[in-house]
Symmetry: C2
Subunit: 449 residues, 2 copies
């Protein structure tokens, strides 16, 4: 047995991830020492209530409600409490005392990342956060280090397991969202209040973190355009399947050239929304609660990283990898390497984004309607790539609201060439107001071409 | 413009990868400085012949045939010459002078890795080799760092683009290997002498590197069991497709418990061979020259890393990521972090491996044959999971060699439960000698269950 230098490790939080981290630190202590070159001594676990029931039995003597005293004199502080405060205060305390910190707190990094990273730079400490985006999937180190000599042009990520589970089952079963969401809640894949997941807040936080790394730019959460999945209906899923697509909630981080108000050079767009993905794209076969991050880089070409996006023990794997890295750095000496943010690219508004769209309309079924719709699109600088028209079958016995003349109802599915989001939005508004259009059924972006 | 500290970079080799690395170091100098915190000054490029034609125009004044003088006083040495000598000597010279080294040399690392890593440890320098396994795919950092707190149980990798291209086209087109290999050579996907790829030598070197990282053990190349793809026929591909499989050349690195001569605890198996992969496994959809590495870890679960496994500019991406990491470490100070090899697990012989098999036999088509074959398997401790028997149609007009009695010929495809390779080998030998068996058509392992 080698006599390793001892490092004092403080754990803040003993929830689903924290309790697994504590268990693995204790059970695998010898292996972790061999790998990191340091004996990792779990000095204590700060919790709100030492008597609360937990998934994993933890040594009672390690539990404390006094996080601040625990942090004092620690070499590595692992923050798994979540939320902004008191997590932010504890991390700043830890960094100011010279400890390295490991965190899975995406909400904190997406909102106060710059402050945390600055505090680390001041004292030459390091912040590790592999678990803050895409759970167990190693994506932070590949972006931060492996691709540091390349230029990332686009990331398309499925980074929220809850919404992928819901959309995947809607696609496979042809079912409505409500029942599947209830199942997901029962199975522990969705929270009792699912807002953070289904409205895209969680994905937006991860998108901000990934974009910051990929583009060497501090991307504030407010710069991320966000739409959730609550507007996705069974009918939209069915129509997507019919057209060779699947609908996924994607986080898109994109480098753009020559666009963006603040710059005539490069800019970036970061956005989260449900989008159509072609069935033969690697992201289309990401099922259930899994995550995947598809990266397009100038030199490396297309890369994909796939795995479990959440789960207590899975996320604990990423946290422990960070703990080993922090320990190795402590033993090797030297300052921590700060974040690379000097590119400082401006973020463009969603209106400046260029992508393809699929517009589904219900229109009057009479001569001249297609010409009229095509004319509105053309006037709006939106070029049509594909059109499919089908006559609607009225399944209701009530008389149609549009009973004047011979006009039944038809459905138009229009695939556009690449268009400016702003032009597209204005054009769709004009379509919605036009007499021949009964209803704009859906407008979806197409990603991953 | 920030006045960064200058770091002197020496490049050894200006082939397909080296010339791209030189180009990107020059073209992206400002970006690389912002990202690494150091001005990376390309001090020179050592080549065998300064007048040789190159893919990329390189500044003539940087070219030199004197590698040893170039290495003197360099902070970072990039070795992209390939081969054992003089690459080994140059790397040792660089490390001994305190430089960090970046290399894509899998042959060198798989045979002299321990010597190189020891030399780095002696002086506190670092060795970076992201490009040495699976080209542009970030797999070294995920294994070395992200998964350092987890326990990797199995890696199944498609790590050779040439053989994947050949097998993929055989599968899709139902074609013979010879013509596709000729195409691959014409397209630059295969060397004029394809031995290193088609006989599995290249994959075996990468398997040794991946297994060393995954199991914290120095795995010598001699410990890797290696079989190439030259025995894979169109008929085997067709039969695999019929059974719901595809044949891929895989590198398998596996942790085993309770097996292996030298240990009653844990051991590892590292092996390269063509294997059957189920069509619904993520590795089955890795097409063309792409690579993918599928990792099963105790806590993280299943992960997959996918991307370009070769190519000059793609591999240059991985090399430059390493250069940025080396530069950041130089600026931060501190010693390099050595390889983690203290687990020191023994490697078992191929005979100790346990996996599933598919055995294809041509047998006499007469009563009692299936019972006889099943008896031989049972005697050899090989348990049958599935059997499919089809009567052979004789497409030749020549009389059958087995014309005695009414015995035509039948084909038996036997899927086994998990069996010990040694038992399987002995059993197949007994089958081959038995009177009822006309021919053992093929024996393939099944991986990825």
């Amino acid at each position: 047995m080698i006599d390793y230098r001892r490092l004092r490790v403080a754990l803040l939080g003993a929830g689903a991830v924290g309790s697994q981290v504590a268990r693995l630190l204790i059970e695998h202590a010898d292996e972790l020492a061999d790998r990191s070159g340091a004996a990792l001594e779990l000095a204590g676990i700060a919790v709100r209530d030492v008597d609360a029931p937990r998934d994993v039995a933890l040594p009672r003597e390690l539990l404390t409600t006094d996080a601040e005293t625990l942090i004092l004199g620690s070499d590595i502080v692992i923050e798994l409490m979540g939320g902004i405060e008191p997590a932010r205060g504890y991390l700043l305390q830890a960094l100011n005392s010279g400890a390295d910190v490991v965190t899975a707190n995406k909400a904190l990094l997406a909102t106060h990342g710059a402050e945390i990273f600055d505090a680390a730079d001041q004292v030459g400490a390091s912040v590790y956060y592999e678990a803050a985006a895409a759970g167990a999937i190693p994506i932070i180190r590949p972006l931060r280090d492996s691709l540091a000599g390349d230029r990332v042009n686009r990331i398309i990520g499925i980074v929220n397991g809850t919404t992928n589970y819901i959309l995947d089952r809607m696609d496979i079963e042809g079912a409505d969202m409500a029942g599947i969401l209830a199942d997901a809640q029962r199975l522990g894949y969705a929270e009792a209040d699912p807002t953070a997941d289904v409205e895209g807040y969680d994905a937006a936080q991860k998108a901000a973190i990934l974009a910051s790394l990929a583009f060497h730019t501090t991307v504030p959460l407010e710069a991320v355009h966000r739409e959730g999945i609550t507007g996705v209906t069974r009918q939209m899923m069915d129509a997507a399947r019919h057209a060779g697509y699947v609908i996924k909630l994607v986080a898109v981080c994109e480098r753009m050239v020559g666009r963006g108000a603040a710059s005539d050079g490069e800019a970036i767009s970061v956005r989260v929304y449900p989008a159509l993905i072609r069935r033969d794209h690697p992201l289309a076969s990401v099922h259930g609660v899994n995550n995947a991050v598809f990266v397009q880089a100038e030199a490396a070409g297309n890369l994909m990283f796939y795995g479990a996006g959440a789960g207590g023990v899975q996320t604990a794997s990423a946290v422990l990898g960070d703990v080993v890295s922090a320990a190795r750095r402590h033993i090797a000496g030297g300052a921590g390497v700060g974040e690379s943010t000097r590119a400082n690219l401006p973020t463009v508004d969603i209106g400046q984004v260029v992508t393809r769209y699929q517009i589904t309309l219900e229109v009057d079924d009479r001569p001249g309607v297609l010409a009229r719709v095509a004319g509105i699109l053309s006037d709006g600088h939106v070029s049509i790539a594909t059109v499919e028209q089908t006559v609607q079958e009225h399944t209701t016995t009530e008389p149609s609201a549009h009973s004047a003349g011979d006009a039944g109802s038809a459905r138009l599915v229009i695939g556009t060439h690449k268009a400016l989001e702003q032009d597209l939005g204005e054009t769709v508004a004009r379509l919605a107001e036009d007499d021949v259009v009964e209803r704009v059924v859906s407008v979806l972006r197409v990603e991953g071409d």
